[in-house]
């Protein structure tokens, strides 16, 4: 084919421009670490990368929710420990009150201590979580779980939180489990029962209260255990979530991130081609110089 000098120059210039574009693209991939910057670069890979990145964002938000729930459950755990301590002390006072050597006045003095312990227990069980809701009130978080008299004011609904895509788990416990609603004893009511027996100098009544106190301690312990198991479940869920996020990060990387070695190799190749194109263009220019 006949090729004129103008065409030779045009082709050489086009080749240099094309090689320069490719070298710039290779340099951009290497410096940014991203091989798919826009959907048109590779629509399927871009979509995979976007989906993975957004799922990561949503997973991280679930991680924050889990973290807050864990914090609340740990606070609940501490609250229940305080209440448990009050019940243990209550048991000790009951044993003391049942001693035959005490008179009525001494028993009334112990009753005063029992009422004080009840107030401490109520305070312990009426703590609020990070959002200002009472932790043991179920969904009635704007109302204290227990009234000053020890009556439960919340409900039995346990709040759930998302732990994975389309999966949720309970993130709290209900103070209703400390009442007779589920067949147990009224945990705060045992303080009143013992105080009444002490005030009445009713030794058999005091001895009977001892058994109820043991039941209340067991009931509280069951709730405590429930808190522990939910904490454990959330921590397991968070571990699984973190592993899931690592997987998503890998998916994102595979879809849109550049392999540094490959990117460097591509840049080297593109640079070599550019240099060759430039050398060829110079050769053509020299060849076409008027002599």
């Amino acid at each position: 084919m006949r090729i004129t000098e103008s065409r030779m120059m045009e082709l050489a210039a086009a080749q240099v421009a094309d090689s320069r574009d490719k070298a710039a693209q290779a340099q951009q991939v290497l410096s940014s670490g991203t091989k798919v910057a826009a959907p048109s670069d590779d629509p399927a890979a871009w979509a995979d990368g976007q989906r993975a990145a957004i799922r990561q964002t949503m997973s991280q938000s679930r991680g924050q929710a889990i973290s807050m729930a864990v914090s609340s459950l740990q606070q609940t755990d501490s609250m229940l420990s305080q209440a448990s301590s009050s019940l243990t002390q209550l048991g000790a006072l009951a044993v003391q009150g049942a001693t035959g050597t005490l008179d009525a006045t001494q028993r009334q003095g112990i009753a005063v201590q029992v009422r004080s312990l009840k107030e401490i227990a109520i305070d312990a069980l009426n703590q609020k979580g990070p959002d200002g809701s009472y932790l043991l009130s179920g969904t009635q978080g704007n109302v204290a779980a227990f009234s000053a008299g020890g009556v439960y004011q919340g409900d039995g609904t346990v709040r759930n939180l998302p732990i994975a895509e389309s999966a949720s788990a309970p993130g709290a416990v209900s103070g209703q489990d400390l009442t007779t609603a589920n067949g147990g004893v009224d945990v705060l009511g045992v303080f009143d029962t013992l105080a009444a027996a002490l005030n009445a100098n009713d030794v058999p009544g005091i001895q009977a209260a001892l058994g109820t106190i043991q039941q209340a301690i067991g009931q509280l312990s069951t709730l405590h255990t429930q808190v522990g198991s939910r904490l454990s479940a959330l921590q397991n869920a968070d571990d699984a979530r973190q592993a899931f996020e690592i997987n998503l990060a890998n998916q994102h990387a595979a879809a849109v991130e550049a392999d540094p070695v490959t990117a460097a190799s591509n840049l080297t190749r593109a640079s070599t081609v550019l240099q060759s194109s430039q050398a060829a263009a110079q050769q053509i220019i020299a060849m076409l110089q008027p002599r």
Binding site: S40, D42, T57, S166
Partner: protein, 457 residues
Amino acid sequence: MSGLLQLLGVGASAFQAQNAGIAVAGRNIANVNTEGYSREDINLAAQLGPPLVGGVIANDPTRAQSAILAGRERDAAGSSGMASSQASALSSLQDNLTGLGANVAQAVGDFFAAANRLSVASASASLRQALVDKAQALAQTLQASAHAVAQAQSEANQRIADLGAKASQLAQQVAAANKALATNADPVLADQRDQAAKQLASIVGGQARIDSDGMMRVTVGGGAVLVDGIKAMSVQTAANPTNPTQVSVNIVDGSSKIDVTKTLDGGQIAGEIAFRDGAAQTAANDLDQLASDIATQVNAVHSANAGLDGVTGRNLFTPPAGVAGAAANFAVDPSIAADPSKLATAAPGEGTSGTGGIMALVALGDASNVAGGGARSFVDEGVRMLSAVGSAASAANTAQTAESARVSSLASVRDSLSGVSQQDELAKLASFQHAAEAATQFISTVNNLLDNMIQTL
């Protein structure tokens, strides 16, 4: 004596013929960088005459050109123009849709991520405000995306109008060249007509043919005549009667007009129309459908649940009047925006700390059958919509690359046939120069012979 005088005539014809060759080579060299110029060749023909005294004559220069190749170039220019305008418009739209702070899919994901966070502390004022903020951001992103698509379509309309005006001018140039060629067969006029026809094809596609009368006729859009001999129609745009936001393209001849909007098969205008009515309109429809799906389904969940005040029946987003325009008008309900405590986080019957409502919203965000006609999640549908724009841009880029290669290949073929080689022309120039010098020498020799003869007599 008479023989010598005839020889002088031979020398003179040779001198004139070689000078014509020098002139043609000079014009070729002068136009070495003129786009569309076709190399000219001089044809020298021996003159008949008595034995040993024949001369030479320079015929009119011929144009090194192929009508078939010119047709293929026009065809390639139309395809290339269409591909390049589509690629450019789609690339710009893609950049506008993905260059936002957060694209649609990300904004949807951010909204549901905020719902995830609120689910564990539904009474938290800051987390409620955060969810409202993300809802506002989603609304802004959908509005901005809808605006970007509408803007891209509007710009395409403007480019179509501008290109129409340019095409009208080129059609007039072709008609003017037709008229000039009828009285003047200068090859340069034919080059200029070919060049104008090629530029015209790059804008409106179509076909051009040169009839037996030497006139070029150009038809576009399935047969509408744009240039008929010395008469040129105009390419005009008008508001589409069925869709005032989209202009239609007409070939106008006085009071009559032919709508070629749907029939243009090449050129930049066809590319702009394909972009405007194709990928851009699809993106607009997808955005509206996604916005409508989100608003409708989120509202259904939200209104079934209760805010901190225990009240149900509130919408989170302003209900769309219909699918069309849903993205552009997507907005957070003003009462929710003003008072995030009205966010419905509790299920009916739950207290203020209830999370049944927000968990239902979270489940909606995770659901894989709520968008795309029940085939995808909201996030996946957003990603699919953006990816579709990317796919269209990628396909247009590929087509542009292929058409560029085709244009380049044809340019090489044209160069091979019609291009001016400086070295070739310099060689010809030297040849003609030497021949002219020889003719001069021949005339001088004959002249000397005549002088000698006259002196002898």
